[in-house]
Symmetry: D2
Subunit: 439 residues, 4 copies
């Protein structure tokens, strides 16, 4: 079977049309559950260029199925696909240059029409066509081409599920009324365990996803090729840094002492007036933290979240430690991480909870953990030609890798080889820090 | 009877509570008719800092009754007014420093909540309190204080009725789908009459509103005092300049020849790449114009609209003419203008229509006409103390006066002494030009 | 005799070639005296877009003679003029669109070559050609055309003499060492007289320069035509406001109370963090003022200087007064001002000194006095065609008129009809305020 | 002997005071030779924030000796050092937070005083004190502390020698007259050899400087520790890419085809309108290149220079190749590079010349070669505490490593382990590209 270059790490069980249909329906339904609490206005506005409206996420994830499956893979299909509205191609393409011109990203909030209702109709329209295709609308040869793309598009939609939560948090926080996304499900409070350190020996390690092992599940092209790295001895903290620990950094003058900061970070601190994590606010001397459940008193035991790379790095220096390297965290995740018990989106917490348990806790879920590794191509990596090749490769510059997933990540989405990446000043993501040390 | 300084030009008929109630209800209902075609999303977004969302206009016009009547004039009222939500004071204050801090103007589109529905409830809440007050909730002494404020707040709401149309036009135009506000009511097409000139002799003229004549109706404080000006002989064009005439300016290289432009205007032309009026677009060689009825072929006979001061002035120089002065247009409006037959919002045209009739046509309605007069205080003018004094006075700088009203102006709102004003680069308003000449 | 439209107010005595030669030499020598204290580096750098390097002023004033006389009026000349370097036309044109493309204004400080020495050679080259022309290089017909242009170019160079002092003050102040332009000539200190008010009756007044009276001396085109204005009764303060008076405004919270400020001014105060006049600085609780003699303790009796329009206007409101109108100051200057005793550049003070004497003191010299009149065309004014017409006309927008000259103005340069103008936020000019009141 | 942490790679021969004196005098004299052709104005202006005036370089390199030796290491000195002017500490500190506040980098061109002459006096003042110290002004214990700092400061001054040439090139190019730094020494033209490829096997390699080997010469702290890396098999091009090759990329639409560009690079191309290398200009259809010898016709055989990382990367993709990794170039430099025959500043070419010879040509000199490796800490690296620790460590973020030196690099300054680094959009440096490939 031929699998396109960008998709070689493909979940072959999806070749079973029944399995594929179930997977497709599950992903699509999960997205709607996330947007259900939002009004048409909540879903329409854009509070900064990095944020996309929920309506746009709903439409764009649909457009990916339309553009990369329904329209791109027409050969061998029983019926030609008809677009609901040809303008949607312009409005809902995100960044694929090969797909032609598109609506500028910072202007996604300027589009009141199509309405939320019309976008939900668009979802149904594409879903009907996809279901027909999965059923009997594609012959077996076409299906073998389509199944990997469907796999990719489902994982793509899961990424946007995390972004929907991330972005709506910024939208609600931008409102001086500080409204909540949901007020149900009170949050259990438990203390954070003492910090301890786990040591790893030096040696040659294999890193990255091995595309040939069918049992290892889906992976994006940027996770391969699996390759050797020489890793020096290191230590990892037993859990992510907490709000309480970060508060000590603040109280020790962390934001006013240049000796802890990268030069670019110190510039940012001064230019933007940073004095605390993004969603923190001091009220009558007490620290409050904004969450999807509204604004609450700061919980010292919870992992500190919404740190930029600059803040994570400065905190690490102040701590007498450093940020981990990508390979170090991947080794730990592969050997010690248990995604099944993660504080991910399935936990319903919608906020990082205090890590528990023995050894290396909360490697998965909670907060994405910054690494000091620049997001770069693995040896032998080449992006696929065409639009699909733009998925990951063209961002390999001036961004840093994060590992492990967060409390906003859909269950099953993160894995040891997963490479998330953001610029060094990004603060609206669910990002935190686990300290590392040389031995 | 004591009338506060800022409100001396007051429609005394409103002292009759029945008249006042009718006036109040009419104004409030007219606003809702304008927003009826808008979805919650149309009413929520803000497409540039100058534009306010329709939802904000609905709330702010309500807040003015709440802040300047219900809360400010409590003495002599039967029952204390209770706010629906104390946060609204922060959200819906526009620019009144004396009323305390407020939500920044460029961020009015970042507020998804309160929802449109909640804002409509806010309107009803304030309307009920106002109706009670007008009925018997205020004793006669209080009512004498309140009636002028009610008069002011009704005229204020009419100003925002014009802005609702102006702003929603920008919102819809910002959408690449170019949707229409309404598609009903096709527009009659008639030719524009030949341009002719009317001459006026020099002499001393009285300009501005005389606050003592009760028959002359409402006026803002900035329209007085009535005072003498020495006006030199001048000529006025019989009608506003048309699209067809403006097209000749474009085709003669108007936007690429600095000799027609003020220095600041030429800078703007180059910095912003201006080559045509704001809502014009060339498609396959044909000119189209965006209107509240969608995008249509350009009609040469219609008044050219959405010109900045810079464009109006450059066009006038190219024409061998000049912009009128404020006094010149006021003299013409007072002597020749007939507001009753105006192409105003009551005409339902929602676009300037070709001027008709003899003499000085369409002095009222159609397009606001730029004057070369900087918006400045009349001799003897002093703003009232407190928030009400901020209504007009603090904007008397770097703006230019416009006269006569437009097709977006509510009927009865414009008058000869009315002074509209905008900065020299404003293009989203319904603004055009009537040429003038020295004799 | 034919005088070009833009130059109708021409000093006919200059038709005498001997008089013209003396005038030319005097003006040119005066410029060099001003730049003598400057090093090559002082004369080269540009500390903000509004500031021009002294080297550029030296070259540009020369270019005006070259472009508007030597090259433009070749007919009737004995010998063809040869440019020293054809690139200078591009480098030293200021803003004349009709003269073709030119070096961008904000980049005048990026030109290290030609060196100061080469620019001084350029001056000599043009001076030699001009002297030849004045002598016998132009026949009488040509001379009649040239003499008015020479008159204009000499007055133009005087304007730049004021700018040389204004701009070098900004250059030196931008240096944290706060060096002085000159340290000679200590400044006499005397107290400011009590403020009193002079009243003027209302009536029709004639304003502006009458081009036909040969005795009245040179005038720019924007000073005419002389025309009637109806002026209402007013009062003028006996002297400009002092540092001491302005300090009271500051101490009364002037910069933190929006009720005194125009809306645009208040925006500027907050955006730029204004808390004091531009060249003031607080050091250990004492106020210091930077002058061309270095930084010194603030003198309460001296006129407050370097106020923007916004600050002058806010101070006037705080004082319970207002800014004068252009006509009001012109009437005062024409009737009461005595340029001969002015605190102008010939006084050598290089800073405004405390006003003295009876009645309306220091109408000339000291500080340019802001008016509330927008810089606009007088009735009947039309700019000349071509480059010369760009001298004044194209700036008639968003600037406000100042009257009377300053301590930086060359002697004899200011007059009652003189119209200086700057934007409302300009602070680097020698600008102050004389209060006015309605009667 | 104790060597401070940041300086462990120290040229111990400098412990001999005679050797140290010779080295100090050589470096100082070389700097003056570079600035000799510049006028006071050439040396004063700053044409963009990244560029520093030559006068500032002259002063800052002197300040380093003053701040880090004369003032910091006073113990054991015969006489206390006296500053020439205490303000210089503020003016000429570059970026050392630990040394206190300093003049903002983008405003280095706003300082006309001290003059060039005064700065040259400052150099002599510090040189006299340093010579006294090297002679007998420091006892042996002090000298053991000082010698490594002198070593560092001499290498520091060599870095600024390269920057003086780099920055004055930008200064002269910013002048529309396009003046030359020098017109002597015509440039030999020879063809570029055919491109060939050299292969390297995979394996574990040691990278970085080994601080313990005294024979290997000076190194900065960021070059260590020497450590193991697993390097995969790769190929390197025999020489840097040429102007001729880069022209083919341009002619093939390189600057208008997003498929070759990183996402951030493509954004930059569009935002800045990039269509060619920084110093190229098309004139009547011919390509010209600006050099320190003025503007000349483009030479196809010469290495293409002044490429940003984005351009180097896009060109590599277009070529079907990739940028080398840091370890790959270091392995090649260590095994094949011959600094003695380099096209460095000693060659006097002042421009990259066509590479010659067998095998891997021009690894040293010509152009700095971009690598795809983000500038990051080597395993075990920690910056020294205090100001010296800011030299390199705080820039390890969002910059990419360059190797091999350029035609502007002083002879002997570059070495295999040397790590130069710049942001991805820097174009004013002497930067080019050598292609690499996977095997």
């Amino acid at each position: 079977m031929h699998i396109p270059q960008a998709l070689q790490y493909f979940e072959e069980t999806l070749l079973d049309r029944g399995v594929a249909l179930r997977r497709f329906r599950d992903v699509r339904a999960a997205t709607l559950r996330l947007t259900a609490p939002l009004s048409a206005e909540d879903a329409a506005i854009q509070t900064m260029p990095d944020v996309s409206p929920a309506k746009w996420h709903l439409a764009h994830t649909t457009w990916v199925f339309e553009a990369f499956v329904l329209k791109a893979e027409a050969t061998g299909m029983a019926a030609e696909y008809e677009e609901l509205d040809p303008h949607y191609h312009y409005l809902f393409n995100s960044y694929y240059e090969a797909e032609g011109p598109r609506h500028p990203r910072p202007q996604r909030g300027l589009i009141s029409r199509p309405s939320l209702e019309e976008v939900l109709d668009y979802r149904k329209h594409v879903e009907a066509a996809m279901e027909a295709l999965i059923g009997n609308g594609a012959d077996d040869e076409a299906w073998a081409r389509i199944a990997p793309l469907l796999d990719l598009a489902c994982h793509h939609e899961e990424q946007h599920q995390e972004l929907i939560l991330t972005d709506i948090k910024h939208v609600l926080w931008s409102n001086p009324l500080r409204p909540a996304y949901t007020q149900t499900m009170p949050k259990e409070v438990r203390p954070a365990p003492e910090l301890s350190w786990t040591s790893f020996d030096e040696g040659i390690f294999e890193i990255g996803h091995d595309g040939t092992k069918s049992g290892s599940g889906f992976a994006y092209d940027n996770e391969g090729p699996r390759h050797k790295q020489y890793v020096h001895a290191f230590q990892l903290a037993s859990r992510p840094a907490t709000n309480g620990e970060y508060l000590k950094f603040i109280e020790d003058g962390g934001y006013s002492r240049p000796e802890f900061w990268l030069s670019d970070g110190w510039f940012k601190v001064q230019a933007e007036g940073w004095t605390k994590p993004f969603y923190w606010q001091q009220k009558n001397g007490d620290w409050q933290v904004f969450t999807l459940r509204g604004q609450h008193g700061m919980n010292s035991a919870e992992p500190v979240a919404h740190l930029s790379y600059f803040e994570a790095d400065a905190f690490a220096r102040w701590s007498g430690a450093r940020l981990p390297r990508e390979a170090e965290l991947e080794i730990a995740l592969a050997g010690h991480g248990n995604p099944a018990r993660a504080n991910d989106a399935a936990s319903g917490a919608l906020n990082p909870v205090a890590a528990g348990g023995e050894g290396l806790a909360q490697l998965y879920g909670g907060v994405w953990e910054w690494t000091q590794s620049s997001y770069a191509a693995y040896p032998g990596y080449t992006p696929a030609p065409g639009a699909i090749g733009e998925y990951n490769g063209k961002f390999m510059c001036n961004q840093y890798v994060l590992k492990g997933g967060s409390c906003f990540t859909p269950p099953g989405h993160a894995r040891a080889t997963y490479r998330n990446f953001f610029p060094t000043d990004a603060r609206w993501q669910m990002t935190g820090v686990r300290l590392a040390k040389d031995v």
